[in-house]
């Protein structure tokens, strides 16, 4: 009878909210601006509440972020424009209140936070951590791969020394190990609850955790209607950080981009996650809306030339292409000038900042000159492919590249590839001659980027680039501490080779755009590109 | 003279068509006295139905009364508003139509349809409507009326449906009944029953009647006075006997002449000026050896044992000799069409032999007979000349078709010549050969059909009610043409018809069929004069008889 809760104004709200039982939702468009409830719209769909499960999509990672804790997290830094971002170089405690690393950097010992409890009140112990990390490396699929990136590969590496002490042993020291623990993957799960719901076929309780998160994080999931919405409810006993300001956050899935824009413009929602560049540019000028655009770290939108494709075997052809791209125009029309230009840099690599500008720019004479030196002076035909799921920027980019190539006699035909096929065709089979790619590395070091994108066989080397010098450099550098004297020269050399061989032509560094109702504060950019709702503060 | 019940004065109706405004009836005047029966007779397009619709004011949207008066019981109907007219329809003037099945709402109980009228005209309250409707159904002699109240039209026979239509029309005891071809399409025996019923009821209720029909015989048998119409105008108006005995107008005379009677021969049907130009009937030569022998022919439909299984033809045997014409007569559903289709090899037999020119053609599947050498020797003239011509083909192409497929040795030029020859043979002007069926008149289409049928010099021609869809004057010409062709081409005919009078004109021998079996067989004249079976007798009795006697040729 009191199922409908109709509340107007913020005064009645706080009273009402405290009176309403948890099972009864108190959302309202009128409440979107309130201090208690936030409404966030997203375009994707949440398909699991368990990040370790195979098939869990990117959008679902935010459940791991908001509902679970990790041992460590990253700190916050202020960007030049005043917005906030996570700080890769500043690892902070989360569930671990402190940690020690031995001298050779192979053993890490964590102290679990005193008094931290799971939602059911059970204290968080090192055994829970051990079970959770074991799970991440055992289940296979993406979590295992991501753990491996931090040299966390087998259950033997993890030890619960006592209830509050947890130890990780690495095969060798790696600068990637600690940051990898701050990614959304190594979450700490309430192992007691999970084990109670495990079966012999399903020892890791994937079926249970898929629907029922069991964590210690700042928010609990109070309602999940797959394909429709997810409702977060604050965990008032959260121990690993300041209590979030919002009592409740409703995540609504709205597939049509225009609809999402209408919603934020009409003030019906608190935030719209991951809005297109055009909207970001235009909404920023509107009253009542705040847009935060943060360049995505370690990510470059690029044009890739597959060296299996005969003409691209010749480096000069690749360079000619790199000189024929109308970068400026692409940046204006496809990116709406959101992001960082990645062209027109100096001829010499002077820093190891990554991403950095390539030496190329639009110079048709140079392009033609280069092409004329090759067997392909009369041009050739090549399909130019892109992933349909990122058509908002890829399509105009492809069209402009097509026209640039036409200027030097190369005929490109555009081919849209549905999202489902993209991975197989582009990344696994690696058979697209010329395509647009948007890889970004979670761990923010250039060598990590190069590892995925410039070693033959690795996933994001979708163009079969193979250079022994590059491979050797990357392998040497990947685990090397950034303070190592060899680090800077190695990276510099990698960048030089990458620009010289140019199998992957950088176009621009994209931004992650989020639109908020005016006055909503505390938003922080994260490498995983999902909304961390914990620090959000109402106006 | 009394004031007439209905007095129509100089009524003209125009129709708006794509070819411009067409005057459907022009200055038609008529009157009907209380208790009188007026017959309006005319061929198709004479405007007889339009006249009645105009009186009822139920013309199509395109039709409009342009001048004239319709005085009914002192009221000028052409002036009164639609709402008043609605009260007159059904209560004062009623109408019944041809094709009774279509005239009833297919998804409403028949009793309810009668009740609707009663309620509409305040002859009954909702409560008593059922009872009164049943009374009315009883009045039109529907057996078990109580139960039939809840029947739907599709559950009744055509004759029954017409009774229901009559019940609807007479439910409110109107003063005037207009019956528009009330029996067309019904079998003769049913026709008689329906007409007798109408006469009985109108007499009982002391009503006036206008009977609209193309059938002079029917009109004469039931009407006090006749009015002949042609092309929207009144030709002649006289008491029936006067009109029959001494028709005043040439048109009336031709019409009378063209109507077959028991004693006329086929030439008698032709108008004088045509008769003068026609050769006299050749002497009929004695029939030759048997051409077609049908023995123990059977046809069943549906799976044996299933409830819809039925025998359409049961054990039929007959033969036709060369040069002979055999008539096959029966009412609808007697199996005559099934028989003809089997003989024609359009339908497979269930059992029995069909020996044609010495070969048992029943053994050849119907689907393969088209390429059989005997195909050309066995041809047919169809009932509906319109339906039997491909609407997308010119007359020439239709006539040429059998030549293309079955006379393959003919060259193109020879074929064209043959088509012209055939056209001349059937009296089809050569300039019409390029036309399409919808551009030809009924008679012309019939000629095209006949030309096509005789193109391959067949030995046996089946005539399946070849004139049923034609006006009598055209029928007269076509029958004569068929008779002439028979002699010219030495063909045998199997003439299928429901109309004994017509069959008799062409046939030497007649078979009467009922329920898939032969009831009676014999010499045409004998059967007509001394029918042996009750069934044949009732068939003959049902044919309306116009006043006999020579038509004065004055």
């Amino acid at each position: 009878m009191n199922r409908r809760n109709f509340l107007k104004g913020a005064t009645t709200l706080s009273v009402g909210a405290s009176l309403i039982p948890l099972s009864q939702l108190l959302p309202s468009s009128a409440l979107a601006a309130s201090n208690e409830t936030a409404v966030v719209v997203i375009g994707g769909t949440i398909n699991s509440l368990d990040i370790h499960r195979s098939g869990t999509n990117r959008t679902s990672y935010q459940v791991a972020i908001n509902c679970y804790d990790r041992l460590v997290s990253f700190g916050t830094k202020q960007m030049p424009d005043g917005s906030l971002s996570y700080d890769y170089d500043n690892v902070q405690p989360e569930m671990a209140e402190s940690w020690e690393v031995n001298e050779d950097g192979t053993v890490m010992t964590f102290k679990i936070r005193e008094g931290a409890t799971f939602w059911d009140g059970k204290p968080v112990t090192a055994h829970d951590v051990k079970w959770s990390l074991d799970r991440a490396v055992s289940l296979g699929g993406f979590p295992t791969v991501q753990m491996k990136a931090g040299r966390l590969e087998s259950t033997e590496q993890f030890k619960a020394l006592d209830d509050r002490t947890f130890q990780i042993t690495l095969p060798f020291a790696s600068k990637l190990a600690l940051p990898d623990l701050a990614t959304p993957i190594p979450i700490i799960i309430n192992s007691q609850v999970a084990k109670a719901n495990a079966t012999t076929e399903d020892p890791w309780a994937t079926e249970y955790l898929h629907r029922n998160p069991a964590g210690s994080g700042a928010f609990k999931v109070s309602r999940w209607n797959a394909g429709e919405q997810l409702v977060y409810e604050r965990n008032d006993n959260w121990a690993c950080g300041p209590l979030p300001s919002y009592q409740r956050v409703i995540l609504r899935e709205v597939p049509a981009q225009s609809t999402r824009r209408a919603l934020i413009e009409r003030g019906s929602v608190t935030a719209s996650q991951d809005i297109p560049n055009k909207d970001a540019k235009e909404l920023a000028k509107k009253d009542g809306i705040k847009v935060v655009s943060t360049p995505i770290e370690n990510c470059i939108y690029s044009l890739c030339t597959n060296v299996d494709f005969e003409p691209f075997k010749d480096k000069r052809v690749r360079q000619a292409i790199a000189w024929s791209i109308p970068y400026e125009k692409i940046f204006e029309q496809a990116a709406y000038s959101q992001g960082m230009p990645m062209w027109g840099g100096t001829d010499e690599v002077t820093s190891i900042d990554w991403p950095q500008k390539s030496p190329y720019e639009l110079n048709l004479e140079k392009a033609r000159e280069l092409l004329a030196q090759t067997d392909y002076k009369d041009g050739f035909e090549v399909p130019l492919s892109f992933n349909l799921s990122v058509a908002d920027w890829a399509e105009p980019t492809a069209l402009l590249i097509q026209q640039g190539l036409a200027q030097i006699g190369i005929t490109a035909t555009i081919e849209k590839i549905p999202g489902a096929n993209w991975r197989t065709i582009a990344l696994v089979e690696k058979k697209l001659p010329l395509h647009l790619e948007n890889f970004g590395g979670w761990l923010n070091t250039p060598d990590y980027y190069f590892f995925w994108a410039y070693i033959k066989g690795n996933l994001f080397n979708s163009y079969n680039y193979d250079n022994p010098e590059m491979t050797k450099l990357i392998e040497e550098t990947l685990d090397m501490a950034v303070t190592d004297p060899a680090y800077t020269p190695n990276v510099k050399r990698m960048i030089e080779i990458a620009f010289e061989d140019i199998p992957r032509i950088p176009l621009w560094q994209p931004t992650l755009n989020v639109a908020f109702k005016e006055g909503v504060e505390g938003y922080e950019y994260w490498f995983h590109r999902q909304m961390d709702i914990r620090p959000l503060k109402p106006a | 003279m009394n004031v007439p019940l209905l007095d129509v004065q100089r009524l003209s109706v125009d129709f708006n068509t794509r070819k411009g405004v067409i005057r459907a009836i022009d200055s038609v005047s008529l009157s009907v006295a209380k208790g009188e029966t007026l017959g309006i007779v005319g061929e198709s397009g004479s405007g007889k139905s339009v006249t009645s619709y105009a009186v009822m004011k139920i013309l199509d949207r395109a039709g409009k009364i342009t001048s004239g008066k319709i005085i009914y019981g002192g009221m000028a109907l052409q002036k009164i508003p639609e709402s008043d007219m609605r009260d007159i329809r059904g209560r004062e003037i009623s109408m019944i139509f041809q094709n009774p099945r279509a005239a009833l709402n297919p998804i409403r109980k028949i009793g309810q349809q009668v009740a609707d009228v009663l309620i509409q005209h305040n002859q009954a309250t909702r409560a008593e409507a059922r009872g009164k409707a049943i009374e009315m159904l009883q009045a039109v002699k529907i057996a078990d009326a109580e139960k039939r109240f809840d029947a739907y039209p599709f559950e009744l026979s055509g004759g029954m449906c017409q009774r229901v239509v009559i019940a609807i029309a007479l439910a409110c005891k109107p003063q005037l009944l207009i019956a528009d071809e009330p029996t067309t399409g019904l079998d003769v025996t049913t026709q008689k029953a329906v007409m007798d019923l109408i006469v009985e009821l109108t007499a009982r209720f002391n009503m006036s009647t206008i009977l609209i029909t193309h059938d002079l015989g029917l009109a004469a048998a039931y009407c006090d006075r006749l009015m002949v119409m042609e092309k929207g105008r009144v030709v002649e108006q006289n008491p029936s006997t006067v009109l029959f005995q001494s028709p005043q107008k040439e048109y009336t005379r031709q019409l009378l002449q063209a109507t077959p009677r028991r004693d006329s021969n086929v030439r008698d049907l032709l108008p004088k000026e045509l008769l003068d130009k026609t050769d006299p009937l050749p002497e009929s030569s004695p029939p030759g050896p048997p051409l077609l022998t049908v023995s123990h022919l059977k046809k069943s439909f549906g799976k044996p044992g299933s409830e819809n299984h039925h025998l359409a033809v049961r054990d039929l045997s007959f033969s036709i000799r060369q040069g002979e014409s055999l008539g096959l007569v029966g009412e609808s559903g007697c199996g005559k069409s099934t028989t003809s289709a089997m003989v024609m090899r359009l339908l497979d037999t269930t059992e029995g032999q069909i020996e044609f020119l010495g070969e048992d053609i029943a053994r050849i599947p119907a689907s393969q007979f088209s390429s059989h050498p005997l195909r050309g020797k066995l041809q047919m003239v169809f009932q509906d000349p319109t339906d039997s011509l491909n609407p997308r083909w010119s007359a020439e192409r239709s006539i040429e078709d059998p030549l293309i497929h079955l006379a393959k040795d003919l060259g193109k030029a020879e074929r064209k010549a043959r088509v012209l020859e055939l056209a001349s043979l059937v009296g089809l002007p050569h300039n019409l050969l390029g036309r399409y069926p919808h551009q030809l008149s009924g008679g012309q289409k019939a000629r095209v059909g006949i030309a096509r049928a005789v193109a391959l010099n067949p030995q046996l021609l089946i005539l399946d009610e070849p004139t049923a869809a034609l006006d009598v004057s055209v029928q007269a010409v076509v029958l004569n043409l068929l008779e002439d062709l028979k002699h010219q081409l030495g063909m045998s005919y199997l003439f299928i018809s429901h109309d004994l009078n017509v069959v008799r004109l062409l046939c030497d021998r007649i078979i009467v069929m009922q329920k898939g079996q032969i009831v009676e067989e014999g010499n045409a004249r004998l059967i007509m004069d001394q029918p042996k079976t009750d069934y044949t007798q009732s068939l003959l009795a049902a044919i309306p008889h116009p006043p006999t006697g020579e038509i004065s040729t004055a």
Partner: protein, 342 residues
């Protein structure tokens, strides 16, 4: 007796549907298997290696040969197991149970609205053929069917939500301040009425308004056209002439004689119109973030989610079979002749 004939008809219809359903299963199975892309790779995630992709493939049963996969599929189906929709992580049965009512509510409401508008329009046009009323009706309904539904939907949204603010935010079936009513039928409008909650009823109706109008605009044309054509035919029929000649009132002639007969062909077209609406639903659901079966199918199709696509299609087929049955029954109700024919 009549009942016997009718129930036999229904049974015959059901039997007739069996080969169709089997055909659907086969077509659907082949179609989904023909979908490009490797679902195993897709669901293993961006960073997965070969081994983990293989693992996923095995989990999904995709390592089996095709005929085996089909047999397994049909076997599971007979046990009521439709599999798990990988894209949403729910079992397909759960998804369908939740989403089908959402789509059906939309579809049926649109059909209802469409009927309520189109039939009178068709009748009106038929009673005045070639008048300006007729032309206007024809113009309007044709304009409706000439617009892509997603365009109409967006345009309505722009005007009534964005510009005027009359319509609620297009965020699914219910505004966020309301909780879904207890499930009885799964239709929020009906369930809210059962719960006696007027405000909830109004809220769910408000959410439905724009998508329903969008869909209805699209379906006006076939219904109005068919009504007009059928009415023209019945109005020109002999029995209407008989009724007019018997002096029946124009209301009775129009309704009991002409319209009831004209309804028969209209009812038969409803099946086709329903198929139309369900197709258009896919696009409209996307625009209005409607958590229905159509949008589910699109998403599933894009990621080659076999189980979901198959489940979707199967439920559609069953829906159609039962719908056609329903149409048959309605037909039998209004046409006494049906039970007689074979």
């Amino acid at each position: 007796m009549a009942l016997g004939v009718k129930s036999r008809r229904v049974l015959a219809r059901l039997l007739q549907a069996v080969p169709t359903i089997f055909g659907i299963l086969v077509v659907c199975f082949l179609l989904t298997r023909a979908l490009p892309g490797d679902p195993a790779a897709y669901f293993a995630g961006d960073m997965a290696d070969e081994a983990s992709i293989e693992q996923v493939r095995k989990n999904l049963g995709l390592d089996q040969p095709m005929p085996m996969q089909f047999v397994t599929y049909v076997g599971d189906l007979l046990q009521g197991d439709l599999g798990v929709a990988i894209s949403t992580g729910q079992t397909v049965a759960q998804e369908l149970a939740k989403r089908l009512p959402a789509s059906l509510e939309l579809t049926l409401a649109a059909l209802l609205l469409s009927l309520v508008i189109a039939i009178p329009l068709g009748v009106l046009a038929a009673t005045r053929p070639n008048s300006w009323v007729d032309h206007l009706c024809r113009f309007l309904v044709t304009a409706g069917v000439s617009l892509p539904t997603f365009f109409t939907g967006l345009a309505l949204l722009y005007v009534f939500y964005y510009l005027l603010g009359w319509a609620p935010p297009p965020m699914g079936r219910l505004d966020m301040m309301f909780l879904a009513p207890e499930t009885v039928t799964g239709f929020y409008t009906i369930d809210s009425l059962i719960a006696g909650d007027w405000a909830l009823f109004k809220a769910s109706l408000a959410q439905m308004a724009l998508p329903v109008i969008t869909l209805a605009l699209f379906t006006l044309a076939p219904i109005a056209r068919m009504t007009r054509a059928a009415m023209l035919q019945t109005l020109a029929s002999d029995y209407v002439r008989t009724a007019r000649a018997a002096g029946l009132s124009s209301r009775r002639v129009l309704i009991d004689y002409a319209f009831r007969n004209a309804l028969l062909p209209v009812v038969t077209t409803l099946g086709m119109v329903f198929s139309f609406v369900l197709g258009a639903n896919v696009l409209v659901e996307k625009v209005f973030a409607w958590p229905g079966i159509g949008s589910f199918a699109v998403e599933a199709l894009v990621v080659s989610d076999y189980a979901a696509v198959q489940g979707f299609v199967l439920s559609m087929a069953l829906l159609f079979v039962s719908l056609n049955l329903l149409i048959d029954l309605i037909y039998t109700l209004i046409d006494p002749r049906v039970s007689e024919e074979e």
